[in-house]
Symmetry: C2
């Protein structure tokens, strides 16, 4: 799947992933209205609105980007009904040829991490049958529990030719609270980064590993160091756009050939219709066109900075 | 809710939580057979088997323990259907007067952590209505992203009078890989522990905080240090029983009055019918009685060591 990701990035000339993190506030009124008319102001109504919103977005951008990254929390907040919308979204994106990165940030001890890996990337056995419940292509993984928590994901990745992105240095303001603590001369995120490199070498694709890393666009200097420490890891870069990261901040996350990183934007794309410079050009009904315009602008911003 | 937890621990004389982490292998054949006859060898069939298994366990132990801890991964592996069984289990346990600790180990950046907090502990707004999708009483939280990831849970806990247990030192063999790294003279888990103490002081119940900690029974010496560093934090102690922790290892997790910690056992209780010394005394049909016997033995083991 990492090989396919690289191929699609090249083909679409877009190291860009669209974060499908729908908040009800981002969804134009005509969509929520219709969903609530059909299902009431219920969890099922919210889930329907989320799904219809996503479908419109995906239809508008699928030919321009290699991947999407649904953030499962935004679905889980609506309970089981929300998770049905997550599942439907994953399936629809895959049908459209998009690579799906499940932003699930799971991580637990051995057998429990295995259950997450099976549920999200692999197949679960029920009697004589097997099922792929959520069936994302990649998942994000929290490393705090160490190798026990990550290896079960790697085992499933090996079987299924799928991949993970391990949290190394996250994009949020307080990520340094623990991640930047110095172990001798090295911050914790470098120790984690080295471990990602070691894990990754056990599971190589053609030029990059099935084990990638998450490093926030908001910390470009750290991105530079981590790029060197993890030469085989694809870096998933959140924090572009709404969180403050700019194209020029991204240069050091990439390798010289413009590969090695994929940049996520969520709000900046999916809620573009509510924001400058798009809100004057696009009506709420045309939210998906606004998202497409934001994707094209983001591609250009990154290409100017990186390629 | 932390006050209620303390009260129930006293009333039932049991600092014990039953981990509802059902693997299909733990479920007696008569239950899976019936579920598969009704729903086929499907995800819905697996979920039904899990739910019926849980129901039997809960009915057999609810008068003996204050709390249960369903591990959501074991449900999530069966997709949406599995999560329905999780939801049903949470609801049933609450009806039986049990406190429910959702072992979800979530943790993300700001708005995303808020979505998890809302979905699991709080209420989500849909139009003019609100819903409590999963409605656990406590949730476990991963601290790797720092305060941004934890504070949204604390906000919801304050509103709802619910609580969290933050992962500090986990019970698994490789937990030391990052958690034991020395920052100056202090291991990372102590830094996290001090932060748990600081977070906790912002959200106090009567004698303990709404912010607790997870510290594995498998690391008793570290438990001793952490008990002192976080005097107001209730400690959720996994790793007893099947993972190797014994009653005598637990002494230092508790305060002098026998409060301050609650010990989880999962496999050791819910799969007792498959294990010595219970398997000769209980048939598969009596798996719930075996679980009850294991709970009583665990209570005695802990009481002998601690009280």
């Amino acid at each position: 799947m990492i090989n396919k990701l690289v191929e699609e990035i090249k083909k679409k000339q877009a190291p860009v992933v669209v974060g499908l993190d729908p908040m009800l506030d981002y969804i134009p009124a005509h969509i929520t209205k219709k969903a609530f008319e059909e299902y009431g102001e219920t969890l099922a109504g919210a889930a329907e609105a989320v799904w219809q919103f996503n479908k419109g977005l995906v239809d508008a951008v699928y030919d321009q980007v290699p991947a999407v990254k649904p953030q499962i929390a935004m679905y889980e907040q609506f309970g089981v009904e929300g998770l049905m919308a997550f599942q439907k979204t994953v399936q629809y994106c895959r049908e459209k040829g998009l690579i799906v990165i499940g932003d699930i940030k799971r991580g637990d001890i051995g057998s429990t991490s295995k259950a997450y890996a099976v549920g999200h990337l692999g197949k679960v056995t029920v009697g004589s049958k097997t099922y792929a419940p959520f069936d994302e292509d990649f998942a994000t993984v929290n490393p705090y529990l160490g190798s026990d928590g990550v290896k079960p994901f790697m085992d499933i990745c090996k079987e299924e030719k799928k991949g993970i992105f391990v949290l190394v240095k996250t994009s949020n303001p307080s990520s340094g609270e623990f991640q930047d603590r110095l172990i001798g001369q090295e911050p914790l995120y470098e120790i984690v980064g080295k471990q990602v490199d070691a894990w990754g070498r056990e599971l190589m694709g053609e030029s990059y590993s099935y084990v990638g890393a998450v490093v926030g666009a908001t910390y470009p200097e750290m991105g530079k160091v981590l790029r060197d420490l993890m030469p085989k890891a694809y870096i998933l870069v959140p924090g572009y756009g709404a969180q403050g990261g700019k194209g020029k901040d991204l240069v050091h996350f990439f390798d010289k050939d413009g590969l090695g990183a994929i940049v996520n934007s969520s709000r900046g794309i999916i809620a573009a219709w509510q924001k400058d410079p798009y809100k004057d050009r696009f009506s709420p009904e045309n939210y998906a066109d606004a998202a497409r315009a934001a994707v094209l602008d983001m591609k250009e911003d990154i290409a100017n900075a990186v390629l």
